[in-house]
Symmetry: C2
Subunit: 398 residues, 2 copies
Amino acid sequence: MLPSILSSPSSSSTSLLPFNYFTLYSPSSSLTNLPSLTYKTTIKKSTHNHSTRVQAMIEKETPVTQRPYTFLRESDEGGAEGSSSNANSVRARFEKMIREVQDSVCTALEEVDGGGKFKEDVWSRPGGGGGISRVLQDGNVFEKAGVNVSVVYGVMPPEAYRAARPVDNGNVKPGPIPFFAAGVSSVLHPKNPFAPTVHFNYRYFETDAPNDAPGAPRQWWFGGGTDLTPAYIFEEDVKHFHSVQKGACDKFDASFYPRFKKWCDDYFYIKHRGERRGLGGIFFDDLNDYDQEMLLSFSTECANSVIPAYIPIVEKRKDTPFTDEHKAWQQLRRGRYVEFNLVYDRGTTFGLKTGGRIESILVSLPLTARWEYDHQPVEGSEEWKLLDACINPKEWLH
Amino acid sequence: MLPSILSSPSSSSTSLLPFNYFTLYSPSSSLTNLPSLTYKTTIKKSTHNHSTRVQAMIEKETPVTQRPYTFLRESDEGGAEGSSSNANSVRARFEKMIREVQDSVCTALEEVDGGGKFKEDVWSRPGGGGGISRVLQDGNVFEKAGVNVSVVYGVMPPEAYRAARPVDNGNVKPGPIPFFAAGVSSVLHPKNPFAPTVHFNYRYFETDAPNDAPGAPRQWWFGGGTDLTPAYIFEEDVKHFHSVQKGACDKFDASFYPRFKKWCDDYFYIKHRGERRGLGGIFFDDLNDYDQEMLLSFSTECANSVIPAYIPIVEKRKDTPFTDEHKAWQQLRRGRYVEFNLVYDRGTTFGLKTGGRIESILVSLPLTARWEYDHQPVEGSEEWKLLDACINPKEWLH
């Protein structure tokens, strides 16, 4: 049996594997590797006698020049391309799906942007796994757009469990657990304050049986979501966005949309503000209490719904005239985005703690953000309406 | 005897009472009070069934229109102004000192700014304590300047200890402890990218003897520091700044400057970047292993050194011509400031967790900040030199 801490708590909103972990996470193996990753300069690292850093038990990544056919280990892909039944494994099909989604989303975004091009960084690890980071920065339409995929073979240290689990199981002292994870993750920040930010992330996770426990069961689960963060509410946009999410959910289970809509409102909660970062969408995690094939199809459907959910909105709003005041309000909401991601987002805080590739983790932050002391929108204003909807989540579809 | 968790660990760099706690901290008593503080509008709060919030055991503050003569409880000040020997207590003299420092620093800053004026918010609590927040925003010279004092009578919940202490004493389960705290805290962000940000914070802390332990010893300690965060290095500026700090230290103990300079470099460390947020200064905490009067004088000397350490630098740099590239680099360094404060600063993270007054806690954030994907300064450039000094702290005085 696996330690109980690894059982999938389907009835709770907690996440064993933190949100975003897979895709925005490309860790180095130790503190001493960080400078050479972060700055390709000759700055030498001082010896820092601070408290011991949690060691990420994943190999250091190596930049590569060509995208490999797959990031799976040979034992997973079964040798030559597609020659084995392993090519039909959930791992293999999930990787194929997220890489196709990365391609199609990037193509659609470059088309909308009409100028900006994605810059690509590819890396791999000697023992298997790797990733592709794509970032479009300072385009015509997008301030910053990141679309990442990654595949990770790793060992979760006990410290990682504690960071990943909001509930503290003080008595459980688990050992390291090998795992496989793959996911696509993306945050798109447009320039125009009337064009909303969108975030999506779909991921698949498996724990491997420990070496000393042959035949022990493998655990697997799916997580993900797509959520909208506008600075101003256009009700038709929000309804369109949520109805596409609901359409994807309803193809699989009528309970999914209401359940995952609420989960999304609960997850993206900035506690110290008493407000959500945006107007939600869907979010789910630790899903394994359905048929595995069904959940693979469901994740695929959700990921493929990002383009029809978002692109029409950004097309409609990207050229709307705006004032400095509209821009300043957007920047204040970007500040909230930063607060959520740095203080609460489990993937970000986990990645920072375990020595992840900082630039991949923090690509989710906006290009620019703003904090004004004690800013209070005028009651009844458009800014006030957005804030009200972030404090009191609404049902957009009736 | 007090619980061992309250003993002052003079040999370690950990802080029982978190940095900034006193002065940027003006908590409300429960989650439901937050919206009325944050937004003076009629937005009603939804019932949020999230995980239980840590209750701050300090009364809710009430805005007041006039600054009181003192925020001390009557039993502390001894009735009429100065009529009792309590007026000579360390509590009373520390409060007097920090309020004088707030006045003199704000006057000096308005003079340098030549246009911007501080906006003042005063609050008090029925059972004693209160504070004065002063913020100058979007002035001629300063983008955002906050200078806060506060006096807190509170009870520290066990959760607060855990947030406040980096070292986890898993076995110790302390009960709530009444405490007194007072401090001045300030962050000054100028507009010109050649004019550095400065932060200072001086604080005094006492635990009260538990009611059921008459005669139990009181614990007290001092903490604080002043540190400089430029976007560009002018060696003469950094040397001037450090030499004023050293001068203040040397009046009391020759070991202070080297010890507190290193403590500062260690504390303002952005672990996930492997770099400090700036070029340091001095930092100390939990200081009680010297004569109490001596430490009161030392804190006063340090707080009074802020103006001579900083004002000449900002006077010299406030009108230096700069390019968009200089400004963008300053904004990237502001992003690092945000990362440190939201992810690592114990006062900020503690304040957010316990339901503090958000606007007072987050006044330390810059007005604007920036995150570029994978930004790497050119080797040997001025930006590179700053980064190098943040990665490898230097001895500025030889």
